[in-house]
Amino acid sequence: MNAIELTHVCKTFPGFAIQDLSLAVPSGTICGLVGENGAGKTTAIRLMLGALRPDSGRCTLLGVDTDSPQILAAKEDVGVVLDEAYFPETLNAVQVGKILSKTYRRWDKDRYDGYLDRFSLPRDKQFKDFSRGMKMKLAIATALAHDPKLLVLDEATAGLDPIVRDEVLELFNEFTREEDHSILISSHILSDLEKLCDYIAFLHQGQLLFCDEKDRLLEEYAVFTGTAEQADSLRSEAVVGRVSSGLGGARCLVRRSEVPPTLELERPTVEDIILFLVKGAKDSCRH
């Protein structure tokens, strides 16, 4: 079963549109959703969770159509962390816990308290007095305390210092040790996604450019660094993106299968692949 499935989804707003988006996150996997600001990541997440109704196409969450009445029961199994915590600012952690204990049937107070202790979060401090890191930690605690099967994280690690981010990523890793647990995470911090994800989906201007296994992407592509002349000698089908590095040098993202095996290549990072592909997409728009 797919934890999340979008099939030919379209949603139009003034000045922006999600176009024919088809995306599946298999159960038990971690999928990273990548894209520039305004690429449609948050809109896609809102569609996945039934917070927005698509103009056309179909969205399912844990096997349930987001338009069906059963979606509320399916949401019991979903934990959500958005880019900000979105809790009213006058609440404190205890009050948030009490509210959510009446929201989720499987709310586990002990587990919630455990996360509050683990994150050293004050119980009686008003939410407005929390730092950004504390706010995000509280949001993560609330997303995990009802034992969800799916975590949806929209820029949940943005603005966290590296130590906290590492702690949070470790928590997500712990979460996916259960076989049927899945995560969809959107982030600008591609190194986090590289550490965490099995799949990478790349949205660009409302369209899905690719959704592929991370390891396959890293095997398929490579980075070539050499002189401009050497880069020119590569077959055009082999070069996905190219940047001049000054003083007659060039750096290219190439398809391994299309270049001679003798050519010295570097293993790319997910960030390399995304940056070259975005540049490639922009160049093709210009021409």
Binding site: E76, T90, L91, T103
Partner: protein, 201 residues
């Protein structure tokens, strides 16, 4: 829905304390207008709760949680009803106490307060759909309309209050107001749900 009402209650706790103080002060002042105003004023509390929701973007998160559109809308009505009821009971008790302590003061009649309860529900039914349609930010102009409704209603109820006690028209007036409150509620809630859904999607 219980969770959403609890959330509004926590959010409004500070305002609630001020509100209770307002009721105490207004109800302690002899005369119908003040006590009636306190009851009708309580119908405005859901708008403050909605403004807090908008400021924190709570609705975006709530749409992703297991709350139905019906729960989200109905919770605001229920929150308003609870406060209207609480204000009516508080005013009744305080005015009764006042009349015992100071019989010559001319405290508000229970009839006027019951009528105020019905009028408050009508104010809520008329204005909440506008808030769901336009939001509290754009609804500021509407707020003047609401204040006008609140003050006008309080004045009108207080004006006719002396004629109501023991009057033959009392039952008819109160019944008409109660019927209006029920009919408006039956129409207003589904209409608000429809507006909320349309706005959200």
């Amino acid at each position: 829905m219980q969770a959403l009402i609890l959330k509004d209650f926590y959010v409004m706790w500070k305002q609630t304390r001020i509100f209770l103080l307002v009721i105490l002060v207004f109800s302690a002042i002899p005369g119908s207008f003040n006590a009636v105003f306190a009851v009708i004023y309580s119908a405005m509390l859901p708008y403050t709760a909605m403004a807090y929701d908008e400021r924190s973007k709570w609705n975006q998160l709530a749409a992703m949680m297991p709350y139905s559109d019906r729960d989200i809308v109905l919770s605001k009505y229920a929150f308003g009803w609870l406060f209207i009821l609480a204000a009516t009971v508080a005013s009744l008790v305080l005015q009764a106490a006042l009349s015992l302590v100071w019989p010559a003061a001319g405290s508000a009649s229970p009839a006027a307060l019951l009528l105020a309860l019905c009028v408050s529900v009508c104010v809520l039914d008329l204005t909440l759909p506008l808030m769901f349609r336009f939001g509290t930010e754009r609804g500021r102009l509407l707020m003047f309309f609401i204040i006008f409704l609140v003050c006008g209603s309080a004045g009108a109820v207080a004006g006719i209050a002396p004629d109501l006690n023991g009057n033959a028209y009392f039952a008819l007036t109160l019944s008409a107001a109660a019927l209006a409150a029920v009919v408006l509620t039956v129409l207003s809630v589904p209409f608000s749900i429809r507006l909320y859904r349309r706005k959200r999607r």
